[in-house]
Amino acid sequence: MKTTVPVIIAFLSGLVMILAFFFNPEKSIIGRLEPEVLSWVTIVGGFTLLLGVVSIVRVNFNAVRRKSQDWPFKLALLVSVFAMAIPSVLPSSWSPLFGNGPGSIYDWLFNYLDAPMMSTMFAMLAFYIASAAFRAFRARSAESTLLLITACLVMLWRVPMGEVLLKGIYPGLPEWINTYIMGGANLAVQRGIIIGAALGAAAMSLRIMLGIERTYMGK
């Protein structure tokens, strides 16, 4: 029962999505079923949000209670969770600080703490790219030397000053990089990976629909 019911649900949901793709949504009920099924995913997701809150509170509360390593950070996390959540769920009719409209506590925390922190994390990517590139582009073999030369050419081509430099070496060089490296070798490899991945995803979907693949249920 624990396996059969999920397999049947997976089969029916998959079948609905496949059929909906082939039917005109304006002329048939089946065609209109796709957004219905997708909205069910959102509804179920909404209910499971509570599981997430319980998990995060349990893990961090236990760490704070036991005063384990770095417990003040976990306390800060718990305070942040409730500081963001509680004012945002209270009705804005009680106070303009509640809800999630402009001027609310949630809005302030999001704009002046959350968003800048996210941007900071994203900006750090530049430094990580530099260290990864340093390791990847070391000319240890013929292949890695080829990679290094190609990477240098593409990096130069991507910036206006580099493009001028490349044109100075040979006027048609930027166009050659665009056509043969980016539009040729790079695109061909990317498309090969995409086609392979799409087939893999379709085959896995079919296995799930047929109940052959049940590893996602721990079987």
Binding site: F11, K27, G45, F122, M204, R207, G211, T215
Partner: protein, 293 residues
């Protein structure tokens, strides 16, 4: 359920053929494209789907009958057990991340499937396992899979409720938490399997800095170079979807992989024929076969 599977497979193929015939007849009988119940411009996709299903099912049937199927070696997957063994020897945990997408994405399901296999190995060796997730639905699925794996290995008590934990809903808050885990707990092995975006390099580089052995797998072509640069082994595209079958070595699952290879061969042939026809300016009709809306 297992004994009914061949019937379901037969039903699906018959249903698809009936659907193809009916939809063609309906489309032919009706007027303009906008009036049609069936979207005739997607008929090629339906034909492809039927061919694809039939080939996969034939190979699955052959696998069930006991035919030997050759599956090429995937180094990244062969190293999973080795990597968990390393963590056991060092007395450090294994960190597994099933991507940052929701459970309705097939990449996440593939990641969860691999998590089940990894959890079995960690249960066998009694190695701590950490699975931070970004979505509550992935949390529920992950907990189920890990608990089942520990149960099947006869060690249900070794499975903690906090093995799979929800850490943050925001992409970079999740990243920061996982980076924190990497630097504080110093896992011996990091396994990234699923959909990753801008955080891929942040995670992989942090793991590299922490000295962990790293195995990654994703179907996102834009993130693959980052994983290749920062990880020890990388599964590319379809290898991610093949992982659960490869690790389990179940003939039924391996049959699906073999069928997939044949479809790929058909596609490669189509590309070659198309390229030749287009080169001789005679391939317009051939291109039309593959156009879909």
């Amino acid at each position: 359920m297992t004994s009914k599977r061949p019937d379901i497979a037969r039903f699906i193929v018959l249903f698809q053929f009936a659907f193809l015939i009916l939809s063609s007849l309906t489309a032919a009988a009706n007027g303009t494209a906008g009036d049609r119940v069936f979207q005739i411009d997607r008929l090629n996709a339906l034909v492809f789907m039927i061919v694809f299903s039939v080939v996969i099912l034939i190979y699955t049937r052959w696998a069930r009958q006991g035919r030997k199927l050759f599956i090429r070696k995937i180094n990244g997957l062969d190293e999973v057990e080795e990597a968990v063994g390393r963590a056991t020897e060092m007395g450090k945990p294994v960190l597994f991340i099933p991507g940052i997408n929701e459970i309705d994405e097939i990449e996440t399901i593939a990641g969860i499937s691999i998590l089940g296999r990894v959890a079995r190995i960690t249960a066998r060796y009694e190695t701590p396992l950490l699975v931070p997730v970004r979505y509550p639905m992935v949390l529920a699925a992950g907990q189920e899979v890990v608990e089942q794996a520990y149960l099947e290995e006869g060690k249900p008590d070794a499975c903690s409720k906090d093995t799979v934990r929800y850490v943050a809903g925001e992409q970079f808050a999740f990243t920061a938490t996982v980076q924190g885990i990497m630097m504080r707990e110093r896992p011996a092995t990091n396994i990234f399997m699923g959909a990753f975006y801008a955080e891929s390099l942040l995670l992989a580089e942090s793991g590299n800095a922490a000295g962990s052995i790293q195995i990654a797998g994703t179907a996102q072509p834009s993130q693959l170079p980052f994983f290749i640069a920062a990880c020890d082994y990388t599964l590319m595209g379809e290898e991610l979807y093949a992982a659960s079958a490869y690790l389990s070595r179940e003939p039924l699952l391996l049959g699906g992989l073999k069928g997939q290879d044949w479809i790929k061969m058909i596609l490669v042939l189509s590309i070659i024929i198309g390229a030749i026809l287009i080169s001789f300016d005679a391939g317009e009709w051939f291109l039309e076969l593959f156009k879909s809306v």
